[in-house]
């Protein structure tokens, strides 16, 4: 019986299983509606186990009942973007898929990690349709955005990524809010090591990182970054590490905003979100969050 379930075995789902296996985080069961796809990928990975030293099993299934016992379920089902499209264009199509999964997971005792785009809207949808507690439904938004910011800062500063923390909050779109004051190199604010012009370029690059990959690869959206972010969130939850990661969840009054999902730094443990940390924001930044929240609310109402 696996303790991590992955629903949807496309590029993000399969690579999330792969990263989880590589780090020996726990046993994985992959589910997909396409007959044999999950089983085939699981078998392929297990045949690499003797070489890669996997300590846990990976299996595939076409029965959604097999995911019910997992402590964490990653939802990576749905379609992905094509060049020239925005994340929000996927909403109607993916909402139907999310609805089906959410309904089958009513009363689920574990934590759900949503990777499906547009992620903030899918978190809202999944939480509404499943009825799970908001602390149990988290989305990859800020984790991925902050990972991308860490990479860009590392490259520009010539300092290893491991030294760099970055915080990106808000909506997973070009409205995301990289927080310079909460981004540091071994504790030292990045603004003391980098001039403003450079920093602005890095922030721009981060905002457009997802679009850039879609444009570059033409035939697929990004999946290594999102899968790594998913595996990181899974590890924090399954191992109860109390790691602080910015994930998307349905807010209940943060900065005066409620009923909308966006990313904020959270302490993650076995019960999902155990604590939310609120960075100090300027009035402009709070206003920016409110604009994002209003937009999300109006798109959400359309479906």
């Amino acid at each position: 019986m696996a303790n991590i379930a992955i629903i949807g075995v496309g590029n993000v789902g399969a690579n999330t299983a792969f990263f989880i296996a590589e780090k020996n985080i726990g046993s994985v069961v992959m589910y997909d509606i396409q007959d044999g796809l999950a089983q085939g990928k699981a078998l392929d990975m297990m045949e690499a186990a003797p070489i890669r030293g996997y300590q846990y099993g990976i299996s595939g299934t076409n029965s959604v009942d097999d995911v019910a016992d997992a402590s964490v379920t990653v939802v990576a089902a749905g379609t992905v973007r094509e060049p020239g499209t925005k994340r929000d264009d996927l909403f109607t199509k993916n909402a139907e898929i999310i609805d089906g999964i959410a309904q089958s997971m009513k009363g689920y005792a574990g934590t759900v990690v949503i990777a499906t785009e547009p992620v903030d809207l899918m978190v809202m949808r999944f939480q509404e349709k499943s009825g799970l507690d908001a602390s149990r439904v988290v989305g990859l938004g800020g984790v991925l955005d902050s990972t991308r910011l860490r990479y860009a800062l590392s490259r520009e500063l010539g300092i290893t990524t491991e030294n760099i923390t970055a915080t990106v909050v808000g909506r997973h779109s070009d409205q995301m809010m990289p927080l310079v004051d909460y981004s540091r190199v071994n504790g030292v604010p990045v603004s003391t090591l980098m001039d403003e012009v450079h920093l602005a370029q890095v922030l721009d690059e981060t905002r457009n990182a997802g679009d850039l990959i879609v444009e570059m690869s033409q035939r697929s959206s990004s999946f290594y970054g999102p899968s790594a972010a998913a595996a990181d969130v899974v590890q924090a939850i399954v191992w109860d590490t109390k790691r602080i990661l910015p994930v998307s969840f349905v807010w209940d009054g943060q900065y005066g905003i409620a009923g909308v999902a966006m990313s904020l730094p959270t302490v993650l443990g076995f019960t999902g979100i155990e604590r939310v940390l609120e960075p100090k924001l300027s009035q402009d930044q709070v206003q920016n969050l409110k604009t994002s929240a209003d937009e999300l609310t109006s798109i959400y109402a359309k479906a």
Binding site: G53, G158, I159, T160, E162, N163, T165, A166, T167, L179, D181, Y182, S183, R184, V185, N186, G187, V188, P189, T192, L193, A236, T241, K242, R243, I244, L245, P265, V267, L277, P279, K280
Partner: protein, 312 residues
Amino acid sequence: MSKVSVIGAGNVGATAVYYIAEKNIADIVMVDVVPGMPQGKAADFMHAAPSRNYNIKIVGSNDYAEIADSDVVVMTAGMARKPGMDRMDLLKTNVNIAKQAAQAIATYAPNALVIAVSNPLDVISMVTLKESGFALKRVVGMAGILDSTRFRYFIAEKLKVLPQDVMAMVLGGHGDTMVPLPRYTSVAGFPLTELLDSATIEQLVDRTRKGGAEIVSYLKKGSAYYAPAASVAKMVEAMIKDEKRFVAASAYLRGEYGHRDIFLGVPVLLGRNGVEKIYELDLTEQEQTALDGSADAVQEGVKTLESIYTPG
């Protein structure tokens, strides 16, 4: 495969070898004066190779010639601090050990980077530099990274978060006058000052200053080695893999932070060329005063050194 030599196969040296081996970072030579001891430990390590998947070689020797062509040499030889003993008490014994080692490094491993570990650290680093005749950036002392890792752990324990999420900067000499900088310490990017009140921070700072002594008081007959060895391994890895790692380490200053001709803990960039850069952070008057005080304490140690020191 790169080569790392560890001089002194005591607790710090042997545990550093363990961490380096576990990550397959480089072939390792352990050198110690005690006959058979480094050979025995090296053989013991190699017996674990099949179950731990080591694909590096570990060799023990009593002969410095074995360190030939090392990429990095770690100097851990010296007496460990005993309960009630000040770091300065160790000076005379350890200076002589360091002199011999530095001369051997210059002879057999003339292209190596050297990490000084023995205490008093900032003084031993100076001896190593003088005796090896190496370029300034090739000699560095392991201190700030250990002091920082302790401070990080204490903060994580207090806030009940993962230690990995805490980053901290501790400058100054590796002694009671070290300068932890709460302003340059963060938890997942949050400034520490937003998460803890100043009294609690001061308490953790104080515990960090006495971090080494806290372990000694528990162990009675020995001092810390797991955290020091982990810090050494981190520095070795940064050099071998050319990581460009931003850490606090004891580096030779030429005017940075207003000090010169002294080894002092400052933020540096570690890579294949050793100390590739020294970063000068903005300090408040209070922080600068604390750093000056720390430098004075190191300088005093260096003066004592000069009184007992005959080069060559």
